[in-house]
């Protein structure tokens, strides 16, 4: 095994694209206690900047309220719940990436719905009323949170209009009309508000050119572009679950890169680009989300995605999520970084590892990322490279040797955190406990404990300004190594051999 000599001069900047945004279950769920506890945990250990999810305008948030009683008719805009959602986000240091949708039933032109919770996916009955609704939402937000704040909230028009499930007939024409009306409504409130789209799903690259043409021809404002990326192939369903073939990690990075290529030379070239959803599987019941493989496969994506797009938003931060109904077990293959009861999955730890990296990138490779922070700490993220789910099984061990520069100390503390099968592996622990659908308090304690990364603290000599790090990773392992310079304060008179053992007896 050859030694990778990490340069001591930075080669780049890590940036925050990887944690600029994260996905969430529908906004009504943000009212829940477990959701808020999960978000607080995520924010304290990862610190996303934005959160994006469906359902802002759906009936269960109660904004659009037509009335007809006692001789009075009209529409009221009510923010009793929306305020609670946005207040709770902002209190936890996370801003909304507003997705405008789905259609309130009182404004819908049809009754087609998506998901167990019945989001209406038909165009508005009246585009003027839609514009009024959009403006009411934006104006209320400005009243409550201030114009400076709301200008920082991207406003995305609808979700995956290219799919018949999410937009009646997947009508491009109807979407473009909705986009235009919405963008005009938003900009009428304030020209510096940011509006964008088209929020398309994977496999819809044929939408980019028409979208560019449309907004160019009609001079429609576009402040950012958005789309989704997944690696999923065909599905095999079982009760309360789905297995799927997944492509390899590079395929995600390829998807990230595609729109910029397709739009080169168009008016949309160079706009901020946001992957407003990504993961391996797009199913909320695929157990892959709960595995160490999920973390290992996404490690290179988090390490490198920021070169390609301005944000890529993991779908979703927690399993408080109901597209397919009420999850039937604590771990159920949900999208979340966190399972129910704040169980931390391997992918959660991948994000917490990333959150401990410095901003100066010293080196990046197929199985590692090395950074340094302002305090001089060097941080190594390492992972076993993996393929798609149809690839041959990865070897049981993966080895790596790094020569890491460290200034200003003769010794370094080395703190390692590991996630791999049966190490910080909540799904593995859950199996050991017999997969309890409703874990008891005792079982939850065990699961929380077992889902901690396995950590160790040691120290190494710094020789010629370098520490040699020999890492052996298990299959599907993701590991974080934090290397801090050590200042030795040991007084001259201390001698640990005198505490206990034969020399203690001698009193020497």
């Amino acid at each position: 095994m050859s030694t990778i000599v990490v340069p001591s001069v930075p080669t780049g900047v890590l940036g925050d694209a990887w944690r600029r945004c994260v996905g969430t279950g529908r906004l009504n769920l943000a009212l829940r206690a477990d959701y808020q506890e999960s978000l607080a945990l995520v924010q304290s250990e990862i610190g996303f900047e934005y959160v994006r999810g469906h359902g802002l305008l759906s009936d269960d948030l109660g904004i659009h309220r037509p009335y007809d009683a006692g001789g009075h008719r009209g529409t009221r805009y009510s923010f009793t719940y929306a305020d609670q959602v946005l207040d709770s986000w902002l209190e936890r240091g996370i801003r909304p990436f507003l997705e405008l949708g789905f259609m309130p039933s009182g404004l819908a032109s049809g009754d087609q719905t998506v998901f167990w919770w019945k989001g209406n996916v038909t165009p508005p009955r009246d585009h003027g009323e839609w514009a009024a609704l959009v403006q009411a939402v934006v104006r209320h937000a400005i009243d409550r949170y201030g114009l400076d704040e709301v200008r920082r909230w991207p406003i995305e028009v609808w979700n995956e209009p290219n799919l018949v499930n999410f937009w009646q007939d997947a009508s491009q024409e109807a979407y473009f009309r909705l986009y235009e009306v919405t963008a005009a409504a938003v900009k009428e409130v304030d020209a510096e508000l940011q509006v964008g789209g088209p929020a398309i799903s994977p496999g819809a690259d044929e939408w980019w050119a028409p979208f560019a043409d449309f907004v160019t021809d009609r001079d429609v404002p576009v402040d950012f572009l958005s789309f989704h990326a997944y690696t999923t192939g065909p599905a095999q369903h079982v009760p309360f679950g789905t297995y799927q073939t997944l492509r390899d990690p590079q395929s995600l990075l390829d998807q990230f890169a595609m729109p910029a290529k397709l739009l080169a030379g168009s008016r949309l070239e160079g706009l901020p680009t946001h992957v407003t959803e990504f993961s391996t599987s797009y199913r909320p019941d695929n157990p892959v989300h709960d595995t160490p493989y999920q973390a290992a496969s996404l490690a290179p994506v988090l390490a490198g995605g920021g070169d390609l797009v301005d944000s890529f938003s993991y779908w979703t931060f927690c399993d408080v999520f109901e597209e397919e109904g009420v999850p039937a077990a604590a771990l159920h293959g949900g999208f979340g970084l966190l399972g129910h009861r704040q169980l931390r999955k391997p992918a959660y730890h991948l994000y917490t590892f990333m959150a401990r990296m410095g901003q100066d990138v010293l080196h990046r490779g197929a199985d590692h990322l090395v950074t340094r922070d302002d305090a001089g700490r060097v941080t190594v993220l390492a992972w076993q490279p993996v393929g798609g789910t149809d690839a041959p099984e990865e070897p049981e061990r993966h080895e790596l040797r790094l020569s890491v520069p460290l200034a200003g100390a003769d010794r370094a503390s080395v703190h390692r955190s590991r996630v791999a099968p049966d190490q910080g592996d909540v799904l593995g622990a859950w199996r050991h406990l017999g997969r309890p659908a409703s874990p008891t308090a005792r079982q939850l304690d065990l699961l929380h404990e077992a889902s901690e990364p396995v950590r160790s603290l040691s120290s190494l000599d710094v020789v010629d300004g370098r520490v040699t790090l020999d890492l052996t990773l298990a299959r599907h392992e993701v590991t974080l190594v934090e290397i801090d310079p050590v200042r030795d304060e040991t007084p001259a008179w201390l001698d640990d051999a005198r505490i206990v053992g034969p020399r203690a007896a001698q009193g020497v």
Copy 2:
């Protein structure tokens, strides 16, 4: 004004019927953060023993889960959400008063629903499957919380089956069948579990005799009786609100007393009797719930209801409640003791006042209740007597003089807490602020502060073992007076006149 001489020897015991149980919005709402914060507040200051609400078996709690996929068919019972609800209740020191309903869609015989959230109100498609569901629920509760605990949970069969809105065709025959099947299923799990009903609404006294006959004839177990009581008359609707004529407080007490009268001599005579819902109005959008009148009118009911029934459960403890949809304003005439954002209404304070009463009743009158606790503190609850909403307006002042016994001290501290229009009156304060539908943080601060009872602390001499208390109450006022014996520890050398003022100058 004559002086009421309060005896120094107790005339009775107050008991806990008034706080044995409280109502709640549907159980799915118990997952919400604002619900849990509201419950925590209520429990810290009032301390109810049980909580009862709809929706345990409805789809949004997700217990009954038929499946058919990948070649597997069957029904799974899932408690991911139910556990969270029950855990959170028990952690806050409150037990479930289980209401079995409404019908899971996978087990329903029809599609009639009630409320905005669509509780299915049709009989089960298959009574065997219903019994299996009931047993799964009870057995899971016993597994998780222990048999001793679950034996303390009353199990009530359905809700208001005498109303066509709540039970298809209001069919007595179908209800009796459901009751019998349910009772048998419960008792098969454990004979000491408590089952009861018929949970009828006001105005259904004609159900009592047939129910008694049915359970007698077929030897069906009944451990307790339950029914509801309200004082509401005809409604006048406006958008997002309802005004109604309400009867006087005595009519509630009359309703409490009726079943015992009707069932005298039957097999059901003497069974524990629970008013599983009561309030003035049965509408979740009647502003009367938010007024000082609500507190004044219920004061005699709380003071005296325990003589008539074993519990009477205020419907509901907070406004996290959605029968008519998402509430459109912070205060909206909801049932709750607490409004949204934990705004404390006058009725909330009536309950907190009751929670500070002692167990020994010294005296009770039309406008007061006097108690003493084990530490010797005497507590007076006083209120202006009110009529129904069609009564002439009550006078602006109500006066009361009590001679209160107090042992073992020469002086007494007198702590008074008042709730009346513009005193501890959240609705009045909200009006001063212009009725903001979505109060800002600043407005919420003002509302929380203004919803505190107005309090004062003074002291009185104890003469011949008695304190004379002169109370002047405002219209619709409810007042609490706490009288503590004082032990004077003032040292001989202290002289407050020397702190400031002319004598201070003299140094005398």
Copy 3:
């Protein structure tokens, strides 16, 4: 009574001199739980910027540690406790105003001490060792908190060297030598650190000229000036207490102004000037500190002191304080804004009232201060003017009428908070309870409640852009009025007369 017409255009800026700094008991006490809870409360409601107290270098903080054992001799600087103190301050958003003193016994030239806790007040045995100690402290602070942070910490040399109690023989010569050595030591670490003095007590104005001469002659660095101000006259002692004659509030402002006058034309002219201690009485056992008089007498000082000095530091924020030994009762005339058990005294509320003022001063008078904040809220602080303790007793009522400008609304909410005898008066409440030295939990509840300002919320019409405010104040009252513009959101269909009463019956 004439109406004071408050201008609608600001006449000045309030500034933060009044809360730039606050005093504390000796630093070892900062380790206590009740101290930290008190500080957290003070910071959440007032928000001081700096805290200053004695004892940084005293033995009970354990920094200076000579050793001689096992054949090893030397001095170790230990920060186990100092770190805890500074960490806890900074965590609560307050910075140290470092006072260097008193003398560690291992470095002292004599054994004279001050206070029950025996702070050594003798010069250093060796000025080189003193300089080494000072540098060790400053360097450790920079290591731990960063240079930018520590540059913001004023470093004050010693405390009241003009008094024989605080500095052996009150030797000016010895103090100047200490000052010079200290300033040089500090600047050697970093030239931008701020050092100052001479921290003299009231009645020592004769020190200013020699101090100016000394530092000028020897070119000694001085970054700021510091001194103390109290209004106390002769004392009359009783057990555990002291009564004293106090001068009027203006005498405090006169003291604030004096050094600038005396130093005009000297090299020290124009330096930042800090009153590093002030109050009425300088005794930690004078009950005046606990009275409404204390608040009323300091109100004009807080309102106007910022015109004269850069900070004036109330001595002290809480009664966790031990100069005269362990306080023998919950309320004992301690210096604190807070008594033991976080009991809020009237002076505490004066500070919380100030914390709610806006930055734009609209008007200031002998009995009021009117400000406006950026949100358009107008805030009025009003007080009854008082004299010294030998003045004739102030009248029972003080009246005030203000015409207050308010833009952009037809109506205003008016929120008033009052502190006066028996209103928000913890000492009065404590008397009603018989002055319990060790209050029970029940008594503490009553005291906490009774020490809340009496608050009310109402609303007034805005006529021609103005609200007319009629204020009647009780003797020694300090009152805060917050006036917010109101936007009326009442829907057209609401009619409160339909909720309850005769019109309700008519259903009109």
Copy 4:
């Protein structure tokens, strides 16, 4: 290695003697925030019943307060601090084991003191005043906490009167007189209060017979016996530290057993017996307290001590302790289970392991203790047997095989927690970091993390009602194994091989 077959029928009961009591630094320190946080942690994870420490009557708690001012003379008893201490203990679920001492300076007959904090160790100037003080303390406690509560507080007379450091001249006669006066004073308040002594240090067995004779001859009440036990030999001092020779664990158990042997046949036979202090070293600066050896050596003592005495109180629960002055480093060989900053030492974990044991003892050996709780969980505490510090170094590995009975399941989860050098070893981690005297926030995070026991979760088959447990322990390791029966809820259709890997690709 032979297999130890653990019986399935209990052979005894574990009892709570091991956690009935714990030691504390002097009571004034209980006012500190870090003390209270440490106690809260200890109570949440261990749950001691009583706490005992010095200084209840010392000046810095301020109870005994003679006064002479303004013409008034007398003595006041003040509980401002004592109440805070006792309140905070009781709030955390721990009761005082009252030690009466040391002497208030106002009541002392001399000025000899002990420790840096100068506890006065001379007899009272006046035994009547002493009795009055004792009664004032006891009566106040009864007033505040109730007689039932105070009857549960053992009252111990003085500390180690057999040592000249702790009791002037170590006068047995003077101690017996103090004991007699104190016992009489206590019993005069209430005959059921518990009083005892003589609280002697190790090596004072010659006190037992005279004590028995004295109380028998004069019919002095004795409700319990108390004494101390340590294994320390000669000391070698270095700055801020001490090394000592320690005897083996059995010597502690021998000390526990001795008084009962010596008192057999006396009037004191059979009285409750409390070891009110024990540890290895009696020095607060011996690093052995911080080592895994400390845990390994005390494991057999905790496992077996309850057979010999009614309680044995670890001296002390945390390092907030000042006998030798302010500790100069975060880890300094303090007595505590917890170091400064709540750093958990190996001995802390030994106690948390004990707290997870069941009450039914299945087996006990030289290197293990096996218990079962009511829920059927089997818990194994295992340790490497160690000798005194002069013994030959223990081997690097210790092996153990147990056949453990487990009813009602086919599989068991096995949760192991390890403490050994570099595993849950805070001192080892501190060394890796260079022994920082004042750890930064970053270093504290690392230390807290590294002081967690190393945990793993796995599962084993249950064969013929038994699990075979093979344990390999490192040198000085203490390990806890928790074995829970597992109920397998895995649905028939789940197949983990389909999630990822070649079979996933096949969709089988």
